[in-house]
């Protein structure tokens, strides 16, 4: 069972839901939590533990100057500007490369080969006896978040229950995270911005054919618009977390409400059972 946690809008509480759900489930079963927000992973803050790092590499072009005739085909082809043929040399800009391999195919002289370059790492730890944490970390200045997400997901393969914490937004990293999941939890907040981005995230889940449900976080009790949207789109509201100073205080010191506040372990266990397609 693989469950993605996404939101559209940033700061709605994806990591809060992922960390608390993982903690509550790890009380009774083996859980693997994958931090797919590789540009700013933060789940390790809830689960500090010694980690083992595995580097993530992507293929980048290397020019064989002896074979290159400066014909310019590679530079014309690359839409990311990762190769530029100027005057008497081919320049490469590895951090602009998306590793599509197209340059090696269009080069008529076989002068380009691909060499691996490290763009990030996957950090693995076991903070609790029944919880494995796998965090993707993209190096600063790099663009290939999906490659690090893929590596993190590969390392989690074969585990019986996996939770993927997505990045905000609805672009490539989020699609990479949700794709292949059995279900998706969309975390929103009762603001117009939260609802707007929920609608975008719901559309992504629908396009990917992933059944989804909604968690309303920081609810002020006036969630009519969100609830109406969910009803219209056939999205079950799985859980509502109130806007409460007590919850914020636990969160702000890096605590887990499922562990530190009475009643929340059961509520997160209930959230799991309510996810579409889950058979506990």
């Amino acid at each position: 069972m693989r469950i993605a946690i996404a939101s559209g809008k940033g700061g709605t509480g994806k990591s809060t839901v992922a960390a608390n759900l993982a903690w509550a489930l790890s009380r009774s079963r083996d859980v693997t939590l994958v931090d797919c927000d590789v540009e700013e992973p933060n789940l390790h803050l809830f689960f500090p533990a010694p980690a083992t790092d595995v580097p993530v590499t992507t293929p980048n072009p290397e020019i064989d100057a002896a074979r290159c005739t400066l014909c310019g085909e590679c530079g014309k082809f690359c839409r990311f500007g990762a190769l530029a043929v100027v005057k008497d040399c081919v320049l490469t800009f590895p951090h602009l490369c998306h590793s599509c391999g197209g340059c090696t195919l269009v080069c008529p002289h076989g002068a380009i080969r691909e060499v691996p370059r490290t763009i990030g790492r996957v950090s693995c730890s076991r903070p609790l006896s029944r919880l494995v944490l796998i965090s993707g970390v993209l190096n600063e200045g790099e663009v290939q978040a999906p490659a690090v997400i893929r590596a993190a997901k590969v390392l989690a393969e074969g585990h019986p229950l996996t939770l993927y914490d997505a990045s905000p937004g609805t672009s490539c990293p989020v699609i990479e995270t949700i794709a292949g999941s059995d279900a998706c939890i969309l975390v929103t907040e009762s603001t117009p911005f939260g609802l707007h981005d929920l609608s975008l995230a719901a559309e992504v889940a629908e396009k990917l054919g992933t059944p989804a449900g909604v968690v309303i976080n920081r609810s002020n009790g006036q969630d009519e618009a969100t609830v109406a949207f969910c009803r219209e789109h056939g999205l079950p509201v799985l859980m509502t977390i109130p806007f409460s100073r007590e919850i914020a205080a636990v969160q702000n010191r890096g605590g887990l409400i499922s562990r530190d506040l009475p009643g929340w372990e059961e509520r997160f266990a209930g959230l799991f059972r309510a996810i579409p397609g889950v058979s506990p």
């Binding site: 310019g72 530079g75 014309k76 690359c78 839409r79 990311f80 500007g81 990762a82 190769l83 530029a84 043929v85 100027v86 005057k87 040399c89 320049l91 800009f93 602009l96 663009v143």
Partner: protein, 113 residues
């Protein structure tokens, strides 16, 4: 010698654009014939890597001098490798004005490293 000037529209009377690779137009001036040619920049809304790709475009056009206001890091590296010198025009005049300032040796070179 072919000089490229970044511009907001086509022609010698167009205002100079301060950005390099995101300039709407490149105006190429051949100093020997005095002729000019304006090219619409195909990279204006490119997702990324506009700098190196714009330098490639200049290189293919045979330009050896660029007049603009500022260039990014990737573009600077490509300009240096391509032997294209860049000069900063800080005024608000036309392409013709910028060219006159260059000819009068009033423009400062943009450091490319």
């Amino acid at each position: 010698m072919i000089i490229c000037i970044t511009a907001r529209a086509s022609g010698m009377d167009a205002p100079v654009e301060q950005r390099f690779a995101r300039a709407p137009y490149f105006v190429f001036v051949d100093t020997e014939s005095g002729k000019s040619e304006s090219i619409e920049n195909p990279l204006i809304s490119a997702a990324g890597g506009a700098g190196p790709r714009a330098v490639q475009l200049l290189s293919q056009a045979g330009a050896t001098v660029l007049i603009t206001r500022q260039v990014g890091g990737n573009a600077a590296r490509a300009l240096a490798a391509g032997g294209i010198k860049a000069y900063a025009y800080r005024g608000s005049g036309s392409v013709a004005d910028a060219l006159a300032e260059y000819t009068a040796r009033n423009l400062q070179p943009i450091p490319l490293s």
